[in-house]
Symmetry: C2
DNA sequence: GATATATATTGACATCCTTCGATATACTGG
DNA sequence: CCAGTATATCGAAGGATGTCAATATATATC
């Protein structure tokens, strides 16, 4: 069975210790977060962080924006909606917005 | 980084095409579902279904109950709560109940 | 253009995951 | 106890994934 399904792709993106740390750091930050700030949250190398950010980007969980040399990441605008929709399909949870 | 985290374990359990099919079938069924009924939902063998059910069980996503030769599965009672709590930590979603 | 810094890509390796066939276990009914 | 059915476990094969060191690319500054 292939995983071309966008829901599965998003869930697979979230289901990793490093990537969930990244997402939580993004959720707890008002604006966007510089990629260089993720290296401290987890004990992994810079290429590994870059790899995880790519997975999150391709799943549509985060967006990125370059400002000079730095690249800033933020939660994707429709991330909350997608999460809630998946939850609704799994447990009959109410749609929040 | 290890994945002893229960949140990550639950997400990893959901993040699979076969297992999300199983969960959706459970969510759309009023009561519990016989394990023998999952073999039809996906094109995988019986041992594979059994393996996926074990993953879901160990993650706390589903519960199982034997009735004679058959084993019936249902969504775990606190699945919806856990899903919502994880969502709240990821996107500031409101807690539903 | 040269240097410095931030981020991405490549290639390699180890580990984990999905899947299956074969087999074992559990229960029912004769 | 035996035969039949439902489910689980085992062992192996193949593919996917996480990680790093080395390197490449992009941008800023001098």
């Amino acid at each position: 069975m292939k995983n071309t399904n966008p829901d599965v792709q998003l869930l697979q993106a979230i289901a990793d210790p490093v990537r969930i740390s990244i997402l939580r750091q993004l959720a707890s930050s008002p604006g966007s977060v510089c990629a260089c700030d993720f290296t401290e949250c987890c004990t992994v190398s810079q290429p590994t962080i870059s790899h995880h950010l790519k997975v999150l980007r391709e799943a549509g969980a985060v967006t990125s924006e370059r400002r000079g040399t730095f690249i800033y990441y933020a939660l994707s605008p429709d991330f909350a909606r997608r999460w809630t929709r998946i939850g609704a399909s799994l447990a009959g949870l109410v749609q929040v917005a």
